[in-house]
Every structure is written in C-alpha cells, then in structure tokens.
Amino acid sequence: MLAGLQRVFWEIVGSLLLGAAIYWLLAGQPFLLAGLAVDWPAQWLDVKTIFLSILLEAIPFVLMGVFFSALIQTFVKEETVRKWTPKDPLLAIPFATALGFLFPVCECATVPVIRRLIHKGMPVYVGIVFLLAGPVVNPVVLTSTYVAFQRQPEMVIYRGAFAAVIAAVTGLLVWLFLCRREQSVLRRHRPAPASAGHDHAQHHHHAGDKLSATLYHAVDEFFEMGKYLLFGALVSAVVQVFVARDALAAIGQNPFSANLVMMGLAYVFSLCSEADAFIAASFGSVFPAQALLSFLLFGPMIDLKNTLLMLTVFRLRFVVGLTAVVGLLVMVFSLLAPF
C-alpha cells in the first residue's frame, strides 16, 4: 500500500513539475523566479551561456554514441566483434586507425562505443587506437581544420598524419605492456546476481523487446555518460569566463612551455574536435604554429570531458598513464614538425 501511495505521490509531483514547465515555456518569462532573474552577475550569465552551449553541441553526439552503443549491446554478438577484429596487432592497429575514417564521430561519441566494444571483446589496445585516432583522422574534422587554416594547409597534413602515428604508437605500447593483463586496466564491475546466461537469455526475445531494451539501455547510458559531460562542461565554462587567455600566453614564452600551455588549454576547453581548429587559429597571433599543432593533436585525444568519460571504462591509473604517454608523444611530434 505504501508503494502505491508513493507512486501516486510521484505522479502528482511529476504532473505539477510538468505543468510548471509548460507554463514557463508558454509564458516565456519565468513568473515565480522573475525576482531572481534580475540580480544575476553578468559573468555567471556568461557561464550559463557557455555551459549550455557546450551541452547543446555535445549532447547530440553523445546521444549518437549512446544509441550506437545501445544497438551494439542489443544486436551485436560478442563472437562477431572477436571475429571482425584482426588478431595480429600489425593488422589491427591500422584497422583501428582507418575505422575513424569510416565513422566520422567526435570524441563524445567514441567513448560510449569503445566502451561497449571492449566489453564485447575487442582488445583494449585496438580500442585505444580508435579512441585516439577516431576524433582526428576523419574527413569532417580534417575539412574543418583545412578551412580554419587556409593559409597554412600543411597544418591539415601534420594533424592527420601525426594523430595516426601517435595513436598507433600508443596502441602498440599498450599491446606490448598490457597484453597479458588487459582486464586489469578495466574498471571492475559488480557482477549482477545470477548473471550467468542472463545476458543471452535477454537476447532471445522478440523484436519489440529488443527495441525497448535498446531504449532503456540508452536512457541508462545517457545518465551514466551525461554526468561526466556535465561536470566537464561546467568546469570548462567557468575557466573560460574567469581566466584570461593573455595571462596564459604570458607563461608560454619558449616553444616547450608554449606547447604545454596550449595542451593545457586544449584539455580544459574540451572542445569538439570539429570546432577546435577555429579556436586554435584564433591563437595564431599569440603562439607559434607548433603550439597550435599540439593543441589540435592533444585536445581531441585527451581532454577534461573525455577523461571523465574514460574513467567509466578504465581505471584511474591506466587513464593517467595514457594521458602521460599521449602528452609526451604530442609534445615530441609537434616540436619536430617542420613549419
């Protein structure tokens, strides 16, 4: 009976909230909060603008990734994933790099997909190569880079080629050092009670059940991924509004520190890889081309938003190690770039 009451209670709360929201929507101006609306400091309004804009931009892609992942979860059998992935790392690594060219997704969408594929039996090192290369080595991102750097078309070539090489080298390192204990880098999951065979049983339902399973899964995954995205977007928005770029530029005096600053910015800004070339170009007057390249290489591979997403798949130690390796490789390659 208590449960029934509770249900009624929630239904009432729900319809009240719904009614209030629809009222706000139609009235345009929030009636009850009109008093609050006056006194917001301008900077926090800017935080709101940037925070919401990152979300509005990223959520469609996260959802795309979530749906891909949900479809994989519901429809793709583990054997299929194992069968499709080449066994030999010398084949598998180029395979994963090329995957980015076939699936033009940015990093918000890759993490959920990779997570699912790894759980379905794709080797971790192959997943890592796709995770790193996918958001850079794809036609959409390279086109936007070309557009942003029309006066330095070589930037596109360096970005694409170095990203592929860095991803491949990192993948190779992961394979060399972790091939025996791949499972140890993954986050441990609490085994569900009596889950043996449960997974399979679920898959033998009819089509309608598969559809609702996919949708339920998408809801769950949206909330799982969403909290990290929200946190990353919030931090990024606050930093962007309160920290001046010139102050950071002052630190980047020599090539090494300039690269470091730009990589740090790429990490914090957490921009979509389709847009970051324009931001990099806007730094053209402050930083040398090498530093811009390091920004373009590092940002899509590792940033605040996707670190948090990665932590849903990998253990903290592995993520820290990966960040260090990728950071080092980006630093070396971008300093070597002959501009």
């Binding site: 449960a3 509770q6 729900g14 909230l17 929201a21 629809i22 929507l25 345009g28 929030p30 909060l33 609050l36 609306a37 917001w40 301008a42 926090w44 309004l45 800017d46 709101k48 603008t49 940037i50 925070f51 919401l52 804009s53 990152i54 509005l56 931009e57 469609p60 749906f67 759980h119 557009v147 942003a148 029309q150 006066r151 999951h189 609490r190 085994p191 569900a192 449960h198 997974d199 609702s212 399973a213 339920y216 899964h217 809801v219 769950d220 909330f223 799982e224 969403g226 929200l230 946190f231 919030l234 962007q240 001046a244 010139d246 921009l271 979509c272 847009a275 324009f278 931001i279 806007s282």
Partner: protein
C-alpha cells in the same frame, strides 16, 4: 527515505522516476530554446539541425524512461550490472544536482549575449595578425608582376566612389576583369578574390552579418585597395584599456559550432565623440576606411561619420561562409 531489503527495487523505481522527470525537463528546455529561437544564442546554424533531432530523441527517451519506471522487470537492460545506480543519498544528490543545474539555469536565468567581459578574456582579433607575415611575402611578387599597375590602382582609388555611377550593364564586365586582376595578383585564392572584388564594386560597402568575417579578412589582405572606401556596418562597442579616448571597436563574436568557441572580431573605429558610446551597446556606424600605421603594421581604420544606436539583432553572432558566395549574391 530509507529502505532496506525488499526496498531495493523501490529504490530503483525512485531513480527511474527522477530520471524520467529530468528527461522531461531536458525535452522542455530544448523545446523552449527552439520555440523562442534562443537556440541562436548557443549554436551556429549548421549545428542547429542536430538540436532539432535531439529534441525528438529526448521525447522518445522520456517516453522510454517513464515506461521503465512504471513497468516492472522489463525495465532491466541486459548489461549485467554495468549501469550502477548511485549507491547512497549524497552521491545521488550530486549526480542529479548536476543534471538539474542546466535545467535551472536554462529556465530561471535570463539570456545574455556575450559581450566585452568575455571579449577581454579571449583577446580581440583586429585587422592585423598572422596574415601580415604572408602578406609581406606576397607583396613583392604582386609588385613585380604588375609594376606600373600599382600607381594605376592608386589613381583608380581616387576615382573609386565615382565608378559605380557608370551604367553597370556596359561597364561591369570590363571593370570586373580589371578589378579581379588586381586582387588576384596577390595570390590569396579565389574565395577572397571573389569577396574582395564584390566588396570593391559596392559604392558603400555594406559589411552585414553575412559578410562581416570574410569582409574583414579581405580588408586584411588588401588594405591599400580598400583605403578611402565608404563603409557601413553594425556591431557592439568594445574597448580595451590601452585605447585612446576617440577609439572603439565595432565588434562581433564569431561562432563556428557553439558559443563556447566564440571569438571576437572587429574593426577599429575613430570618432571624436566615441566616449559617449556605452561599452557593449549596439551601434550602426557609417564612415570611411583609412590606412593607418599602428604598431608598425599598416591597417585599415574606420573614420566614423555617423553613429546610430540600434537594438541587438536576434542572431547576434556571425559565421564564416568559406566560399559559399551565394550568401553575398542575395
């Protein structure tokens, strides 16, 4: 609300209801932004399509969320404990608080167009910068090729305003070729040559929101050719601490995907009564482009004839066209 034992299931239900309500919130927020066209303040036109699709997806997810909450065991997805619900109250509060935050912000806080405060943090992109280096490289080539033409160009410039008075149908093709040749000689590619030619032929260059960025780039590439031309444009008033009393920038934020990647572009303007213009207020200015040497760079500055305060436009940001010249033909 504490539950033990059998309460686990009820606990789960509570989460599902909360999530469904949050999804309702997200759906309504997105609907509101699209309905009121406030989405323009957040996303560039080419990204808005995704927002429309997302609205549909959210509606479906909301429906699924409620079904999951109401239905019994069907609600479990097949992923064997991967999606853990937050285990204790504090964690739940933080996680759901995070999801509530954009909803509260979206519904309760008023919309604000990015202005000087953010511009100052980002740094301004004036008519100068990295293109100067390239231009220095391109200049000798242009001079060598068209030796005497340079002085011819100067002469043309003086006659510039009179040019459009000729009947366009007869003179335009000849003038087109002539002007095009001059701009093409610098070798900055067809896109900017096209834009420069188009702008050059206008009696008063109307630098509207469609042409703002490409136009500024064209001025940046061909400062000498555009010196002396009349221009009308609109933007918000921006100042930096090191500006003189009579200086301000007519600025616009450019957005490539979302407002988070906005950067500021503008034209330096000089007007005797500039001090009276409030920072961040929107103005329409008329004036003449003049070549000035600032910090050793030659750059175009707008000598203002008249300033008219205007309302901020519905869509305050500007976007790169990148060769899609159709927009300039309209």
């Amino acid at each position: 609300m504490k539950r033990i034992g059998k309460a686990g299931q009820r606990n789960e239900k509570w989460h599902h209801y909360l999530r469904s309500l949050l999804l309702v919130g997200f759906t309504l927020l997105l609907a509101k932004l699209i309905w009121t066209e406030q989405i323009n303040l957040y996303l560039a036109p080419r990204m808005r399509v995704f927002a429309y699709v997302t609205l549909g997806v959210f509606a479906v997810l909301t429906f699924a969320g409620f079904r999951q909450a109401v239905g019994s065991k069907e609600g479990d997805c097949a992923c064997a404990g991967e999606h853990r619900l937050p285990s204790n109250g504090w964690k739940s509060a933080i996680v759901y608080g995070l999801f509530l935050l954009p909803l509260v912000m979206g519904f309760a806080m008023p919309e604000k167009i990015l202005g000087s405060e953010v511009a100052e943090k980002r740094g301004l992109n004036l008519l100068s910068g990295e293109s100067k280096v390239l231009q220095a490289a391109a200049q000798p080539a242009a001079d060598g090729e068209s030796g005497g033409a340079a002085s011819g160009a100067e002469a043309n410039l003086q006659a510039g305003p009179a040019e459009p008075e000729r009947s366009p149908s007869q003179a335009s093709s000849a003038a087109d070729a002539e002007v095009r040749e001059r701009f093409a000689a610098a070798g900055f590619g067809d896109v900017y040559t096209d834009i420069a030619v188009r702008l050059y032929q206008q009696p008063i260059i109307h630098l509207d929101e469609k042409l703002f960025l490409d136009g500024l780039t064209a001025f940046d590439l061909f400062p000498r050719e555009f010196a002396g031309h009349k221009l009308r444009t609109m933007g918000f008033v921006y100042r930096q601490p090191d500006f003189k009393q009579n200086q301000f920038v007519v600025a616009r934020f450019s957005v490539s995907c979302c407002t988070a990647d906005a950067s500021v572009y503008g034209l330096l303007a000089e007007a005797p009564d500039a001090g009276q213009l409030a920072t961040d207020s929107w103005v329409e200015v008329d004036g003449t482009l003049r070549l000035r040497s600032i910090n050793g760079f030659e750059m175009l500055v707008l000598e203002v004839d008249s300033v008219k305060p205007v309302e901020a436009p519905e869509d305050p940001y500007v976007y790169f066209n990148f060769g899609t010249l159709d927009s300039t033909k309209e």
